[in-house]
Symmetry: C2
Subunit: 302 residues, 2 copies
Amino acid sequence: MKLTILGCYSATPRTFTNPTAQVLEIKGHLFLIDCGEGTQVQLRKFKVKFSRIKHIFISHLHGDHFYGLIGLISTFRLLGREADLHIYGPKGIKEAIVLQLKLSDSYTNFKLCFHELETTKSICIYEDEKVSVTTIPLNHRVYTNGFLFKEKNLERKLDIARVLEHDIDTSYYRSIKQGKDVPNNSGELISNTLLTKDPLPGKSYAFCSDTKYKEAIIPLIKHVDALYHESTFLDEHEHLCDKTKHSTAKQAATIAKKADVKQLILGHFSTRYGDIELFKEEALEIFEKVLLADDGKVFDFS
Amino acid sequence: MKLTILGCYSATPRTFTNPTAQVLEIKGHLFLIDCGEGTQVQLRKFKVKFSRIKHIFISHLHGDHFYGLIGLISTFRLLGREADLHIYGPKGIKEAIVLQLKLSDSYTNFKLCFHELETTKSICIYEDEKVSVTTIPLNHRVYTNGFLFKEKNLERKLDIARVLEHDIDTSYYRSIKQGKDVPNNSGELISNTLLTKDPLPGKSYAFCSDTKYKEAIIPLIKHVDALYHESTFLDEHEHLCDKTKHSTAKQAATIAKKADVKQLILGHFSTRYGDIELFKEEALEIFEKVLLADDGKVFDFS
């Protein structure tokens, strides 16, 4: 599981700070999460093979999370894309994109599949045999969802010493990993529990931006390997959180601690602060495993 | 009259090439012409005081000329803009912008005045005592206008020797410049023609992008001080012009020559060519006054 931050600053794009967008590489998928203005340039800059993106998840329809989507779709079109593109986002996203394509007489040759969201309950929005994606309802000024990406439990781990001891043919190894009981070379059925160890649990990543401090998300993100939680402000500006419905670094760390996550990644920094290290310092007072996002940074969780 | 190129490359934004946007400073105005994705970042990068922009002219609704507009408007809002913003562009532009503002619950505090265009005749769309802006109907895949910016004729030029000779009080100088006959110190009315010379003609700038080769624009742009004409292709790809409705450098130069303009500026280069000097070389075979646009370049016509 690998996360590439394309942009992690709030509000307006600037020369050296980009609005929210990130790419999660998980089980062969390349998921794009949010798509602020300029995302397609960031994808090129950080050499992401963006033709591989088949699913785009948009948290909410504020410009700094969404205004780059129409440009990316247009570029896919110009590059001759043929593969379907799935877009998950708040109700209204389809109308905005389709209207702009219509106005420029630029309908795509590939299929655009919109999955519009409007429930405030957590629901599974994507699932295959390797991974699932679930919404994390957030509390922001407009309808907003975070997203929980989970690898499914991996195959059981072969206990090779026991397998050899039981004299089992190699052609059965695949079945053993799948949890099956298999015969040994004498035809005797050997229980799977004697041949395997529990699999490593699948990795999980929770993206929570933008949101006010919201404890209700804790059960949803409990024990995740990595939690990206917005920290627009430092504690000194905590009074701005109520109106803007954003969080401080301290609040993000509190959520991380209560959810007992393995790693907190802070992002969505207001550009009013000169030094983003201040966010880390503040969060470290509450929770010890803190990383800072930054444009172009790659986090490898494998 | 000063022109700053923010972006002049066709189709998709890339790390070092930006889609169309330019700022024309003329008679105290700062006019923004087209607004491809990333324009707001380019405005910051080239230190344009963009709060001074009150009028935005959009040629057509293809993404590389338009997708940066919603982000710029949102940024104006976040920066607390109060001044009215006038937007001139094809019918549909209002719907696209207003829908996106609505979806993000981000209506502007300042007044957004849309001036939607749908005629294929050349019309005056802006006029004050110092400058006028007229459309130049172009021939592209969607409804497209170029724009002709003209300084109005300046005040008449005081012929100071003649004024002194006629013994006229300095309090009349302003009236003389405005073309009035004025009395001398003996009360005798002196004809303005005896006291002034013809003013220098006002400067003019024609922006013509995107378009197929179209001779019908020639009367509209005759003798302009500067013509920006798209040259998406070199002559070797002239066969692509019919389908894409773009021009070659050679065609742009032919238009410049036939319109007897003072200066041709080439832009809207396809990124398939490694070296934009090739566009200049090709155009110079037809017309001698050729400049190349490039992102960040400033042309001063004063």
